[in-house]
Symmetry: none
DNA sequence: GTGGTCTAGACCACA
DNA sequence: GTGGTCTAGACCACA
């Protein structure tokens, strides 16, 4: 696993975890690996993992039980919202890119569908 | 203008110029700014711009007339190809991102269209 | 080693290296000297050697392993093609020269064979 | 007409004139253009043309009649010798190039003949 | 140690 | 004025 040095590592790890949650590979209420394990598996500093968990908590995506660990939120609505938010960010980035190429929304959709069909 | 340190500056400038061409903001046969002017406007070294022009030429996107300057290709087909290539790269990145969220092609398209309508 | 000022040094070095490869004095997969060593042995700037390696790579004659060095292609077909290409260039230059002397293809071959026999 | 700055212009012009003679486009005894005309047609300095004529004379290829101009030698043998000499130089350069590619005399001839056939 | 990139600054050919 | 090449020297990522 390599990180893009242009963005803080903690943000990149946050995105990785959010993807796991949104994709359902991590279920609501499920326990996240310990800070220590997480640090090992990503070969990053435990302090960085702590920050990730803290930020995820402040976003409501996770919660921490003192002495028990950090868990995925049990609020299904929250996961749904997160999913929508992340998907919309991708859409935005996609449309922005197409804009920069001078490609209209309609054509962007057409190109996308064509690409999907040809797969 | 600031550059992302994760990618070589010359590549980033290449993309910027290609976008101008694909979007038609730079017409076929049009003269690009001189190496020196380009260097000033992006506050980078003229050598770096030289490399950009050389690479664009090797991709067939531009051509150089010795002592006259560097110009956008007059080959409309080439511009079309470039446009398609760059659009497909965006599509790919979009679908890959959706994949990572566990979102199917169909839903990806649906989310995209919903987003467009709501604008 | 001195270079002909009529041609860019980087091109001349490219030719020298290609000859080594075509003649089999550098084997497929063999490591080329490091950029720095090459620069010293030709008394040119490392940047110029870098350009040589980059161009050879873009021609498929060499490939680079990040942090490991630059190597002769392992593709024997590519070497064969290169050999043919370089030989044909010599033939062309030879026939062109003979043309300029008003010497026919047949006589050109005859003179060549005579020269070889007399060696 | 451009000259290769790597060699003295007078030598390059000498070769051009010798080619004319060897190819029979300038006949034995024929008058060469005046120094002045030659200088104009090649856009070089008349002094350079003078030197060319002087050197050609010292090689026996031309001769000068005071007040009349410079002429191609009338000695057919001399022209023949020149022709042979120039052809052999081409042969030598050809074989030397092939040597550098590690290509034998036999194969060099084979490649040459193949190229001729395919024309 | 390996190649890759970049800047600064120079000189060149061509127009 | 135009791009092309080259040197000197620095810093970077990867191994």
């Amino acid at each position: 696993m390599e990180f893009n040095s242009a963005f803080p590592i903690y943000m990149q790890v946050m995105v990785l975890i959010k993807r796991e949650i949104v994709a359902g590979r991590m279920k609501p209420g499920e326990k996240l690996p310990s800070v220590r394990d997480m640090a090992v598996s990503y070969t990053i500093n435990p302090n960085t993992v702590s920050r990730v968990y803290r930020e995820l908590e402040s976003e409501g995506v996770c919660f921490t039980k003192r002495g028990m660990g950090t868990f995925v939120t049990e609020d299904a609505e929250c996961v749904k919202r997160l999913r929508k938010e992340m998907a919309e960010e991708l859409v935005e980035r996609f449309l922005e890119g197409m804009d920069q190429l001078g490609i209209s929304r309609e054509e962007a959709v057409a190109i996308l569908q064509e690409e999907i069909i040809s797969e």
